[in-house]
Symmetry: C2
């Protein structure tokens, strides 16, 4: 919170409209931070469906384990998110803390603990004192407000330099529905963990299995296509809640994934996720450049993704971009180490639309001055054509700066 | 070359003894650097066997492709190494440059081009003007000296801050044989590529297939167990040459990999490779700490290796160590993201012998002050016990400092 706002932050912040069936409140429970909110309660009307995806870490946090188990019911009445303590690697006390938090929220809202979803972000390995939520939960339930989206996004921040919000409208069977999203990004400060948390809310009447299908599909090219440093939090969480309130205005209930009426909604849903995930890349620790990496001509999309991620996570590529150096040799290196089919003599590379390498050698025609200008911009597009097939993909990342090392390494100096 | 010597450099430098059948010479061919040597010629007597392993990159350099092809013959008469230009990603001109270099050396030494092995390190993507070797090759052949090991190690340096040399003796069938090695490390400066080059030389009479088996086996826990930043050069090369001259002193000719007389030689051979590879970790760019990562209790050695590499390549772990912070939460994160079997609640972690986390939670007994002292040292031992099986492994790495970013990113600022 003490870091200046990322130079890559969006210039404007959207105002999120209310969504029928959802009310939000935040409070300062004193988990770790002083002088700021650190707990969010979102209350959902009866009938709200839920779906989610979580970290692939084998050492997932206690709240992630809680949510995975409760997701099977497909119903949600509340979401409680705290910042300041990730409740990760906390053993049995971690499980007890999740149970207590859910019980406190359930009591305040008059629902079952199993209908309460949880996420925590912050310090890892320290017990979370969930009794602190007891002092604020009734008040949160009483104050819950359909308009408190910005406050919600602020309460879940850790080292994020700006709150992340996105919204979209879509027509569903002739009725306008709303999709709102909030997220926090990969900000870490010792001993805080990077945690990507994102929550998406809609009034569309979408059955839980359909919502799950939407989330699982949309995450592939949004949150899963963003990388800051290749590290994966034990707490990464994306949960979507659908109140179904738009059914009262005539929106059709969608029970089948293949329902064609879902098409526009799906696009809007993916747009919200894409917006939030790009904001996360824009708030990468120490980031000064947003980097879009496109890989074309791979043998498959999967292969293109692996090569794009190999480039995006290469410290040498990332430091070169920080240094405003169109160092395509390092891009070749990152392609080569990905372990995917690649033929050096068919490889071409572009920075900002300027081809710098062509079919296995430096492009003799490229204008170094023009490339230098491209590299000075805050947003850099890097494209690789492997010349092998039709597989293509795109990932977003940021540069690796001394500030990243300072944020993550300067605790004792 | 302009960077100060790594604080982790060995305090003493070994003097390598001559090896019968080998003579070395270096020269300044003016490939890129001024005022220093940049080409090494090693001459081998007839009957020298050769074996090697090379980068796994799919975009290997022209010299790597040359060596891979020539290795099939199993015989070597010369090695030519240049620094300043990697002859990588140079297309057809790269292939022509390797051919010309081999022809020039072959002419000077009176051997076949196919018996000349090549390695190049330096700038990538720029044509290598191999005609420059023509001006120095005859002189190199004439001046070749059995004692010029330090000069050889110096000529192949790029951004290495110290030359890397190692030597060992072993008894082979009652006769003393010698193993010498030189290497250069993962030093990169734009647009230079990281390139790990290592060359090992012995007078032991070892048939080429046996030598290949020795190299392939020894590399697993030495060069392949070292990582600086997870990036893989297009030029990584390890070649071993065995003149067999010790046969003249009664050493037995070893034609079978399983020959028991090879045991002591094998240990000495591995020790030379281990020594050189540790020196490479000690000269990681910007490194201020040498980090040994041991993983125990994994389901297999392969799984332990993957987890150790996930920890060793994690920017968050590496920056924490740079910050002298025993941030075991990030170690948990790196274990969790490795994709290998792991159970959070069985995980224990030690820094410098002090257990900081035990079975899924912070160790309540650990002394923070003692851990802080451990973290201030230049060499840090990190151990993880997964508590699942008997698989164990060890890798070496270094910390990630602002200096790394500066070396690799500060070209234009």
């Amino acid at each position: 919170m003490s870091h200046p706002v990322s130079p890559l932050a969006p210039k404007t912040r959207p105002v999120l409209p209310p969504i029928e069936g959802i009310a939000l409140a935040t409070a300062a429970a004193g988990i770790r931070y002083r002088g700021r909110t650190d707990v969010l309660l979102a209350r959902f009307d009866r009938g709200t469906t839920v779906a989610g995806v979580f970290t692939r870490s084998k050492c997932a946090s206690a709240p992630v384990e809680w949510c995975r188990a409760k997701l099977k019911g497909g119903k949600a009445r509340a979401l409680v998110v705290n910042s300041g303590n990730a409740n990760a690697f906390t053993g049995r006390s971690g499980r007890e803390a999740t149970k207590l938090t859910a019980e406190l929220a359930a009591k305040a809202l008059g629902c079952r603990p199993a209908d309460v979803f949880l996420a925590s972000t912050g310090v890892i390995g320290e017990p979370l004192d969930a009794t602190k939520f007891g002092g604020v939960m009734d008040d949160l339930a009483a104050r819950a407000d359909p308009a408190a989206w910005t406050e919600a996004a602020e309460a879940i921040m850790t080292t994020d330099t700006f709150p992340k919000l996105a919204t979209a409208k879509a027509m569903l069977g002739g009725v306008e529905v709303t999709i709102n999203g909030i997220a926090k990004g990969a900000g870490m400060i010792a001993p805080d963990m990077a945690t990507m948390l994102a929550f998406v809310f809609t009034d569309a009447p979408v059955a839980a299995p359909v919502l799950q299908s939407l989330v699982s599909r949309a995450v592939v090219d949004t949150f899963n296509a963003v990388t800051i440093d290749g590290d994966t939090s034990t707490s990464d969480t994306l949960i979507a809640f659908a109140t179904g309130a738009a059914a009262g205005r005539g929106a059709p209930r969608i029970d089948r994934t293949g329902d064609r009426r879902l098409a526009e909604f799906r696009r809007a849903f993916e747009a919200v996720l894409a917006d939030l995930s790009e904001q996360i890349a824009r708030d990468g620790e120490g980031a000064r450049k947003l980097v879009e990496i496109r890989v074309e001509g791979a043998t498959s999309k999967k292969s293109a993704r692996r090569i794009a991620m190999s480039i995006a996570n290469s410290p040498l590529v990332k430091t070169a971009i920080a240094g405003e150096d169109a160092n395509w040799g390092r891009v070749v290196m990152a392609v080569g180490k990905a372990g995917e089919p690649a033929d050096r003599d068919k490889l071409s590379i572009w920075f900002g639309g300027i081809r710098v390498a062509h079919r296995g050698a430096r492009d003799p025609d490229y204008d170094e001055k023009a490339v230098s200008e491209v590299m000075r911009k805050p947003e850099i597009a890097l494209k690789v054509d492997l010349g092998l097939g039709n597989g293509r993909d795109r990932v977003l990342t940021c540069d690796l700066t001394k500030e990243y090392v300072a944020i993550n390494g300067d605790y004792r100096s």
